[in-house]
Structure formats: structure tokens, C-alpha cells
Subunit: 415 residues, 2 copies
């Protein structure tokens, strides 16, 4: 007997029929002799519909009241799923976030979990019941309802798995697992059998739609064994764990890409301490996320540095606005670029992997505008026009092509 | 400065525009210098839609999970209404039943309130905030979410008014107040300026759609001053209080009626102790509500008695099923009858009121099949065919006709 946490996203419970399928799936797991704690998201478009209703009344609704509103979505799902399980003759009991013992910091819309007190879940488990927990929500010490923000239901599942010491945390979604690259671009993308937490994190742009990076980090920190699999078939899925088996001899596990990347360069900045902090502090204050930052040395007391953002015009405006405090010669920018990354734990022990990447890209007649590396990842910022060709060439070069074509359908779960 | 509890039913907040109107109304009350605690029902058809969703998954859903599901309706309303109030530049804070301190017995679907601990409401009031509370819901001592059943939001409002010692509890609905009879039948029905709790209770069939009897009882017990008024206009409404002013010289305050009444008579029952208990115990066990019960004496050790129900065939079947234990000669029944009642605290001191009623009814050529009286009410069960004429004649006879015709529109609030 194992203890499973099973998380089902919004599209997996998007209508009555899907809800019934999920209920059967849970009952089958119990039939195999396992204990089941289920985490469920709001059904299909419920969250968007609630947001629309709110916007009609108040375009800037208070965060506290938005949390009150949004948490009803998961509460509806959990109650309906419990009813569907009862219909199959099993006892199920649903818990809201606060009932399940999720204690969070006193922040609305993006609260972090401080503690989980799973007494009620454990009591119900010991009575042989199936537990259904509302994802994405908790309560502050003052009894205020909070939500976890994006990736909240994944995080609920992983944190709960850690708290109750579950054997496995299964993330059910509408794709079969994590792929070597986006199957919509490369038809022969391979489904990965396993992947390490770090690789998964570096592949965020590939995997974020099915498994939120925050949940992966939580899983890594608490050594929770994750399985990403489809709620629509019984295929095996992808195991995310501490160290993927090295026996596979895989150097590169996956190829990720971000579209909508802009490069901004600040040229001729006088090299005084605190310059970088000043620039990126100003950007952070405006809520602009910076991805890659590259500085390539100092010449005559002046430095050039470049970084990437998704919001080109806003970022340039911020840089121009601080010219008074931060003298520089020139700011240049280039929009509509893409970032391509190869990720693999095997890169650490295999020299020349990055060189091969540059070679493959240049053979596609594409010039590389920026490079950034980590121990298990190499990213290149390139022109966006030839993206598909570049990814296909890299996918083949690193032996990732599957023998069979993969079909991935349906909308992505969002939470 | 007075402390108001303002309750808005489902049709009063049925769409964005209505929600905004309610928000303005609350802000106006605050502008007049008052403190406002608002109780709100689920929007329009939300409750029915949730029930429909549940039925698709489980025709007999567990009551606990139904409570989990149903309480989301009020939670959505309260959050949206708070947002609408914020949009008008005021601070509003919403509370679910458990946050508002409603402690109930551990029963699902029809829990009774055991206690209210309004600490959080009082703290927020002292900060000058408008409080919005979800109607119809509470929590057991074990942290289980419960609902109050029909009339739940009215009861929430009244119980809260008692707990925080509010000056007035206003029940906003889609009619102007309590009428002397159903304005859909008698066009010149009068809106009552005031009415006593007892009269209101006896007029249940008239008033139940706008103010649930359970809430009236609660108000009576706790001496909560109630006002029933429209959320669509500023008319004064009807005050429900301990003793309506006697100066008005009103003998009969209102005329109520129930359609779909059946009379069942059990003839020749041997008059042994416990006979009545046996009959009505058996009916209660089948969930059949009995209204009037009349027994008119014993003859030769045998008694005849009659009672009214709404479910004729089922009641007859129950009586026939207990013939083994309870020997009787014959059971007869008559369906499609109506009950007409005149209600008024003034009846106590005015003899002849009932006689006048019988006279008016017989002048309409209608025969009276059963009579039942209380101190402030006389009811007659009659044939249903001439109902409208009988009510109009009684309305005129007791000087209830208004000078102007009344318009009442819109669907009735259900909670």
C-alpha cells in the first residue's frame, strides 16, 4: 500500500464527463490498494469567468476580495468531485485549503505556504476515505483566506505530499509528460522517462504549462517524487526526481525556447560600484522581469552590458528615465528575438556540448546575439525567424528524435 | 448613528447592474451616518445551477458535500459585492459564515445556529468598514461547513442583528413590503405599514417568499426590529415588530391562502389513548407535513377526525398501511381544496370576526369544509374554484382595499 497525492488540473475536470473519468481513475487507484489524497483545480474556465465578473464591478478589485472570489472555484470542484466518487460507491471527503491545514503568510494573491497541519486529512485517511483538497488556497494565522498565485495547485499537491510523507505525487494533466522539446514544433519530440528537478527547472519554458517551477522547487527541497502524466490515458508519464538515471547516457535532455525576447544593451556606463544594482533595481520596481544578464568586461573605466526582457519598450523607458542618476553613452534594443536553451545534467561531464550548439545554430545561417550558460544549461538568444528549423536541427543533433510521432492535444492546464 | 443589518436576496444581486445598485444603496446608508453590516444571498440562479451540476454527477449527493458546494454561491456574492463597494471608494470586507462567527449544530443542509461570535465583524466595524457576510452558512465546532436550509439568509441577517445588537434589520427584496393579501390576486391589496411578529408568522403563506418564518421567529425571540422593503425603490416598506400599533384600529391585517390543500378524514377510529400520535407519527415518518387537524368529539367510543396535507395520495397510502395497527371504519379524502386565512392581532378583542368571514364566504356560494382558529387567525378550507372571488370579497369586507392599485413585479427571492 502506497500513499498517493494525485493532482488534477482544470482541464482534467472541465466538464461532467471528465469529472467522472477522474473519479473512476481515483477509485481504480484505491482498488489497487493505495491511499489517495486528491488535489483539484477549478473546473475549466471557471477562474476566467470569475475574473470577468469581478472586472465588471471593479477593474482593480482588492486582492483580499479576489482571493475570496477565486477560492470558490476550487471549492466547487472539490465538492463535485467528491460527489462523483460517492456515486461510484466510495467515501470521499473534501477539504478547503484552511480545512486541509494550509497556513500561509498574510499576503493575498500570491501567498507562500508557511506550514501544513494535516490532522484532518490524516484522520480521514485512517478511516479509509478518499480525500479531495481544494488546490491553490490556504489561510493566514488571522483566519484570512489566501491564494498561492500561478502554479498554486501544483504547489498544493507537492507541499501536501511532503507534509503527509506521500510515496508519490502524481500531476495529472492533458499531456503525456515532459517532452524533449515542444511537440507542436518538433513532431518527433521524445517523451522523457525521467528528468531531474534541476533539469525540470531549467526547462521551465517547456514544462511550466504542465508543472509549475515553484512546485518543482518545492519538490526538490522536500525530495518529493513527482510523476507528470495524462488524465486522459494510462501512459507512464515522466518521473521527476533527484537524479535522473545516468545509465541512459543522455547528455542533453531537452530543448526549451522562449519567444518574445528583447535584448537591451547599455553602452558606456561608468564602472562605479552599485551600477548594476541601480539598473536592475529600477526595472524590478516597475515589475519588469529580466532574464539573461551579460557583462563582458570593462574598458577605459566604462562597461557595456546587455540583458533580456519580454517588455522591450517599457524597459527602455525605465533605462532612459534613470539617465540622470546613471550616466551612460547609449542604450540600444532589439525586439522579436527568441532564446533557445539546451538542458541536461550530462553537460557537466561532457565538454563541447555548447560548442556543438553554436555550430548547429550557425549552420542554419542564424547568428547568435547573446550567450548564457549554467552548469546544466546553455542558452542562445537568436533571431526569431528560423526558430523551428533551429530547434529541429538541435533536436536531431543531440539524438532526441523519437522513432514515432507524438500527438499532444487539448488546451494546457493553467494552474 | 445607528447600526443596520441589511439583507439582500438573490434577485436583488442577480446581475452586475443590480449588484452595483445594491452597493450604492449601502454607501448611501453609510453617508447618512450609519454603520452597515450586509448579508447577501447567492446571485440569481446560482444556487439552482450548482444543484444541477451536482445532480449530473450524483442524484443523491452526500449532504456534507452539498454544503461545500452551495456555500460557494454566497461566497461569490459577498466578494463581488465588496468589490462593487470598493469601486465606490469605500472600504468593505467580506466574511464567510465561519469567519463571521456562525457556530452551528453538526447537521448538514439544515443546521441551526448555536452561537455567533462576531469578534471580527465588530473589529472591522470599529475601523469604519462596511461588512459583507455570506448568508445561509456557518461552521460546526469541528470545523465542518454547514448551511441553514430554506430561509437561511433571512435567518443569518436576523441572528446577526441580535448578536451585534443592531438597531434595525432591513430585509431588501423585490417587493415593497408585506401586503394585506397577494397583489397578484387582489389588485387593490394594501401594503402594511407595520405588522406584529405573530401576525407575520400566521401570514406565512403570504410572506414566506419575502421573509422566512424561521427568521421571523428568531426576530420575535430576540426582539429584532425588522423592515421588509424593496431593493429597487426607496419606498418605506413594512415594519415587523413586537406589537403593531393598536391605534390603527385594524382588526384583520391580512388575508393569506394556500392552494393545493387536501382534506383527509379518518372515520370510526376506536378512541384509545395514543391514536392521534400513531397516525401523525406515521405521516411524519414519511415526511408528510400536516397542517390543520380537527377532531370533533367522540361518539359510542368512536372518533372521526380530519386533517389537511398537500400530498393527498401519499397520505392516504400511509393511513391505509397502518390499518392493521389502527382499526378504523373508513378513510375519505378530497383534493384540490384551498385554505383561506384571515389574520389580525385585533381579532382577540373583536368578537364576530370569524362569523363575518363565514358569512362572506357563504355569500359567494362557497361551502366551508373545515375550520380552524387561533387567537389571531381564522382559517377555512374551501373548494378551490372560487378562490379569487372569495379573497376579493374578504379583502373588501375587512376594509383592506387600497385606494391605489399596487404593482409588484419580478421573481421572488427564494432564500
Amino acid at each position: 500500500m502506497s500513499l498517493y497525492v494525485m493532482k488534477f488540473g482544470g482541464s482534467s475536470v472541465g466538464n461532467t464527463e471528465r469529472m467522472q473519468r477522474v473519479a473512476r481513475r481515483i477509485v481504480e487507484k484505491q482498488d489497487e490498494g493505495h491511499q489517495c489524497v486528491v488535489v483539484v483545480s477549478a473546473m475549466g474556465d471557471t477562474t476566467d469567468e470569475l475574473i470577468d465578473q469581478a472586472m465588471l464591478l471593479n477593474p482593480e478589485p482588492p486582492a483580499r476580495e479576489m482571493d475570496m472570489l477565486m477560492t470558490t472555484g476550487e471549492q466547487m470542484s472539490m465538492a463535485l468531485l467528491s460527489m462523483a466518487i460517492h456515486q461510484l460507491g466510495r467515501e470521499a471527503v473534501s477539504f478547503t485549503g484552511w480545512q486541509a491545514g494550509f497556513r500561509t503568510e498574510p499576503v493575498h494573491g500570491k501567498a507562500r505556504i508557511m506550514d501544513i497541519i494535516p490532522d484532518r486529512i490524516q484522520a480521514a485517511l485512517s478511516q479509509g476515505k478518499i480525500i479531495v483538497v481544494a488546490g491553490f488556497q490556504g489561510m493566514t494565522p488571522d483566519g484570512e483566506i489566501t491564494t498561492f498565485g500561478r502554479g498554486g495547485s501544483d504547489t498544493t499537491a507537492v507541499a501536501l505530499a511532503a507534509a503527509i510523507n506521500a510515496d508519490v505525487c502524481e500531476i495529472y494533466t492533458d499531456v503525456d509528460g515532459i517532452y524533449s522539446t515542444d511537440p507542436r514544433v518538433v513532431k518527433c519530440a521524445t517523451k522523457l522517462k525521467e528528468i531531474s528537478y534541476d533539469e525540470m527547472l531549467e526547462l521551465a519554458s517547456l514544462g511550466a504549462a504542465v508543472l509549475h517551477p515553484r512546485a518543482v522547487e518545492y519538490a526538490k527541497h522536500n525530495k518529493v517524487r513527482l510523476v507528470v502524466r495524462s488524465s486522459f490515458n494510462n501512459n507512464e508519464g515522466t518521473v521527476v526526481k533527484e537524479e535522473a538515471s545516468m545509465e541512459q547516457g543522455v547528455v542533453v535532455s531537452g530543448i526549451a525556447f522562449d519567444k518574445n525576447v528583447a535584448r537591451i544593451s547599455i553602452l558606456g556606463v561608468s564602472d562605479t560600484p552599485g551600477v548594476l544594482a541601480q539598473v536592475f533595481g529600477a526595472l524590478a520596481q516597475e515589475g519588469i522581469n529580466v532574464d539573461i544578464i551579460v557583462q563582458s568586461g570593462v574598458k577605459n573605466g566604462e562597461a557595456d552590458f546587455s540583458f533580456t526582457v519580454s517588455e522591450c519598450d517599457r524597459a527602455v523607458a525605465v533605462i532612459e528615465s534613470i539617465k540622470g542618476q546613471l550616466p551612460y553613452r547609449e542604450v540600444t534594443s532589439e525586439d522579436h528575438l527568441v532564446k533557445v536553451s539546451i538542458v541536461g545534467a550530462g553537460m557537466i561531464s561532457h565538454p563541447g556540448v555548447a560548442a556543438q550548439m553554436f555550430d548547429v545554430i550557425s549552420k542554419q545561417g542564424v547568428s547568435i546575439k547573446m550567450v548564457s550558460t549554467s552548469e546544466i544549461k546553455t542558452s542562445c538568444v537568436i533571431d526569431g525567424n528560423n526558430l523551428d528549423e533551429v530547434i529541429k536541427a538541435l533536436h536531431t543533433a543531440y539524438n532526441l528524435d523519437a522513432e514515432q510521432q507524438v500527438f499532444v492535444g487539448g488546451p494546457q492546464d493553467r494552474r
